[in-house]
């Protein structure tokens, strides 16, 4: 079975488009497009909202409400929205199917980003926040220069779990007639072509893991070293560096 999956993945005819079949490359592009658009929209909604709620402490019920969204049965919502939206689009367009898919994926991606952003800002050390205000920073300066950088690790972890979920769930776009890597899983099952089905699954898993690794690499460089605690031994050992003594103390407490 494993060898037939490898054979399926290695067959160049499965990677390119033919008249009746869409190849892996095109489906991979479609999959990335669905996932990318959904993550971008979710980020644009959830990040500012999470920062606002965390900073002001107002509207915190929204976070709980967003978490309740996680309980929605994704396929059910997708079919419901498709039945409502698709008949409004006529002619050679798949807009009527793309919109429901994106709505469902955005609903899926918002809760982890929102709740992690909120929790990250909320849990910034009050002493740090007080010090920032004491130095004369305005509210927005405190939010953007102190609270946001300090909560970045949590925001990243929220975004990464949203990415994993969205990439894995974007396969349901194939439940309504759209492309994406889910096509191979659905078609493989219907055609009793199990190498195709497992091959599709392997591709989705590989895509999700690569995206996560990529984001992990971005996180390494985006998050301040003072927060992540990644200070080389040399710097920590330097007795005259103020930064080093502070972080050394921090490391010791951790």
């Amino acid at each position: 079975m494993i060898s037939s999956v490898i054979t399926w993945l290695n067959d160049p005819s499965h990677w390119r488009d033919t008249r009746l079949n869409t190849g892996i490359i095109t489906q991979l592009e479609a999959h990335l497009r669905f996932s990318g658009i959904a993550l971008l929209i979710a980020l644009l909604i959830a990040l500012p909202l999470g920062l606002f709620i965390g900073h002001t402490g107002r509207l915190s019920w929204l976070v709980a409400a967003a978490n309740a969204l996680r309980a929605l049965p994704t396929v059910g919502v997708l079919v419901l929205l498709t039945v409502m939206i698709a008949p409004n689009f006529h002619g050679r367009t798949d807009t009527g199917y793309v919109i429901p898919t994106e709505i469902v994926l955005v609903l899926l991606a918002i809760p982890p980003i929102l709740s992690n952003t909120y929790a990250g800002v909320q849990n910034v050390d009050p002493a740090v926040r007080d010090a920032a205000f004491g130095m004369g920073m305005t509210g927005s300066q405190v939010l953007l220069r102190v609270e946001f950088p300090c909560s970045l690790p949590l925001i990243f972890s929220g975004f990464r779990s949203a990415t994993l979920q969205v990439i894995a769930t974007a396969t349901i776009a194939s439940y309504i007639p759209l492309g994406g890597l889910g096509r191979f899983i659905y078609d493989g099952l219907a055609q009793q072509d199990f190498p195709q089905m497992i091959g599709g699954g392997v591709l989705v898993a590989a895509l999700a893991l690569s995206a996560d690794l990529l984001l992990a690499a971005v996180q390494r460089y985006a998050v301040s070293r003072g927060i992540s605690g990644r200070i080389s031994k040399k710097q920590v050992a330097a007795p005259d560096s103020r930064l080093a003594t502070v972080t050394q103390a921090e490391v010791a407490t951790v």
């Binding site: 078609d187 690794l213 992990a216």
Partner: protein
């Protein structure tokens, strides 16, 4: 050190994905010419159309390969929708696809004015509806009643019944009774008195209606009837038929034949019926087949049919 291995891993993974992508990109040029040569200098009607249906229609012997073999029909593109469900219907209605694989009794065909393309070469195996009954229960009286039903059952008549149950949400039992009285079959008598029958049905509305029709007609003629409706798929209920826990079932000639004999090749109504009678186990018999069929069909919109003057599947292979 940990960090470097981590980053190296991330880079390797992305590189692997991009490399495989590039590797197959180069082979893409080869397909371009292949697909254009398929269309040829004089384009067929089918090559301008997008066909939609279930995923397995692409590979099934009576799906795209059968259409190509029997009629020389090759569609321009195939879009996977669903198995004769709402997505296929709305895609066809709204023009995302031009032709669809639907079931002949689907109420959506009539309500949307879709046109079924005739299948003179029987690409799709015949699916005449008929009663399969346990031999010990098939008395002359029972046979007469059931054959009487089959004589009156038509595809469009069945489609109307299905509309009543699926669209108008009427009760299947009431619809069955109404149909029997409309066709002069609701006569009471004693043709089947003393016979005890268990009637089963699969779990889709059409099969339930058929089981109710059989049940009501036999009941009116004095039989004592037990119904076990919505059992599930053929794998589940066929065993019961074979072992005698179910006595009567409404079946479809093509699929039941294919189920018993995977190598069956017959496609025309009479061939399938004859082959089925041979293939059934000794304790089961097939009574008369009705003209009603619930089979796959290539369906187009009225507008498409008029535009290309399409009547049969063979018309799709014409140039136009």
């Amino acid at each position: 050190m940990k960090r470097t291995t981590f980053i190296a891993g991330a880079i390797a993974a992305t590189a692997a994905l991009t490399l495989t992508a590039c590797g197959s990109d180069s082979s893409k040029s080869g397909t371009g010419s292949a697909s254009s040569s398929g269309a040829g200098s004089t384009a067929t009607i089918a090559s301008k159309l997008i066909m939609g249906g279930p995923p397995e229609f692409k590979t099934r012997p009576d799906g795209l390969p059968g259409l190509q073999k029997n009629y020389g029909v090759t569609f321009g593109k195939y879009t996977v929708t669903d198995t004769g469900g709402p997505v296929t219907v709305s895609s066809l209605k709204n023009g995302q696809i031009d032709a669809a694989d639907l079931f002949t009794t689907d109420p959506a065909i009539k309500s949307n004015g879709f046109v079924i393309l005739e299948d003179p070469k029987s690409n799709f195996a015949a699916q005449n509806i008929l009663p399969i009954i346990n031999k010990s229960k098939a008395t002359d009286g029972v046979k007469k009643i059931l054959n009487g039903i089959s004589a009156k059952l038509t595809t469009s008549g069945l489609s109307d019944l299905l509309t009543k149950v699926q669209v108008d949400k009427q009760d299947a039992d009431a619809v069955a009774k109404q149909w029997l009285s409309d066709n002069g079959l609701a006569t009471t008598g004693s043709d089947a008195s003393g016979v005890k029958l268990t009637i089963g049905s699969a779990n889709f509305p059409e099969n339930v209606i058929l089981a109710q029709i059989y049940a009501e007609a036999l009941k009116a003629q004095g039989a004592s009837i037990k119904t076990t409706l919505n059992i599930g798929s053929r794998e589940k209920y066929y065993q019961g038929l074979k072992e005698g826990s179910l006595d009567l079932f409404a079946e479809y000639t093509g699929t039941i034949l294919q189920f018993i004999d995977k190598t069956a090749k017959a496609t025309s109504p009479d061939d399938v019926y004859a082959a089925l009678q041979k293939a059934l186990p000794p304790n089961l018999i097939a009574l008369d087949k009705s003209s009603a069929q619930d089979s796959d069909a290539i369906v187009v919109t009225k507008a498409t049919a008029d535009k290309y003057s399409l009547k049969t599947i063979a018309d799709l292979a014409k140039t136009g």
